[in-house]
Point group: C2
Chain length 122, copies 2
């Protein structure tokens, strides 16, 4: 069973974290054909950190987990911190495949999204 774990930075502002949780819920509806489980987790400052997010997916029955970093830039969080958290958690679930997808800022669709946002306000 496949799981998608949307990983955001996390904020001291609960409303920001709630936005990510709501986004994961919308994404669950959109990706139901591909992922039976869609959850949110955070790198820091918020409930459900990455290790707990992975654990929750496994407890829900996941045998394969895609970690999708909800980050715009390839900074330290994307290149070091998220991979480190995943590597530290992996030995706890040796039977589960865990992949890290590219951060969304690297998405080819980002230019189209920015163009739409810009033109909407031109």
């Amino acid at each position: 069973m496949k799981a998608l774990l949307l990983v955001a930075h996390g904020s001291r502002r609960q409303r920001s974290n709630d936005e990510v949780i709501e986004l994961a819920q919308k994404l669950k509806a959109e990706c139901a054909d591909h992922y039976a489980i869609v959850q949110a987790a955070f790198l820091e400052l918020a409930d459900t950190l990455i290790p707990d997010g992975i654990k929750n997916c496994v407890n829900a029955g996941a045998s394969q987990i895609t970690v999708l970093p909800y980050f715009l830039n390839s900074g330290r969080h994307v290149t070091e911190d998220i991979p480190q958290d995943v590597e530290n958690t992996r030995p706890n679930f040796p039977e589960v495949e865990i992949h890290i997808a590219e951060h969304i800022g690297a998405s080819a669709a980002m230019i189209a999204l920015l163009k739409a946002a810009a033109i909407n306000h031109s």
Copy 2:
């Protein structure tokens, strides 16, 4: 003449800032029909802060500037810091209209982008 100012957080890591500058250059090619000027600026930690970004657009001939926050969440940076920088700069250019667009995390296209990124890795 219309200008688009793509505003990112800014990073101590120059490569992250360069990614934003490259994104603004790509966006310039895509939005040429709507914006004669497309530039990048940063909230902090990087060269070309918001006041300088606005000034550069005006010097390039802008009479109308759309500030597009390249941020995912409606945290303090989006709700307070960027508006504050814009308000502080506005009196220097009373003849220029400056609008702040919604941060890109609020874009309706974000779900589609996430879905594509997720399915690409499923």
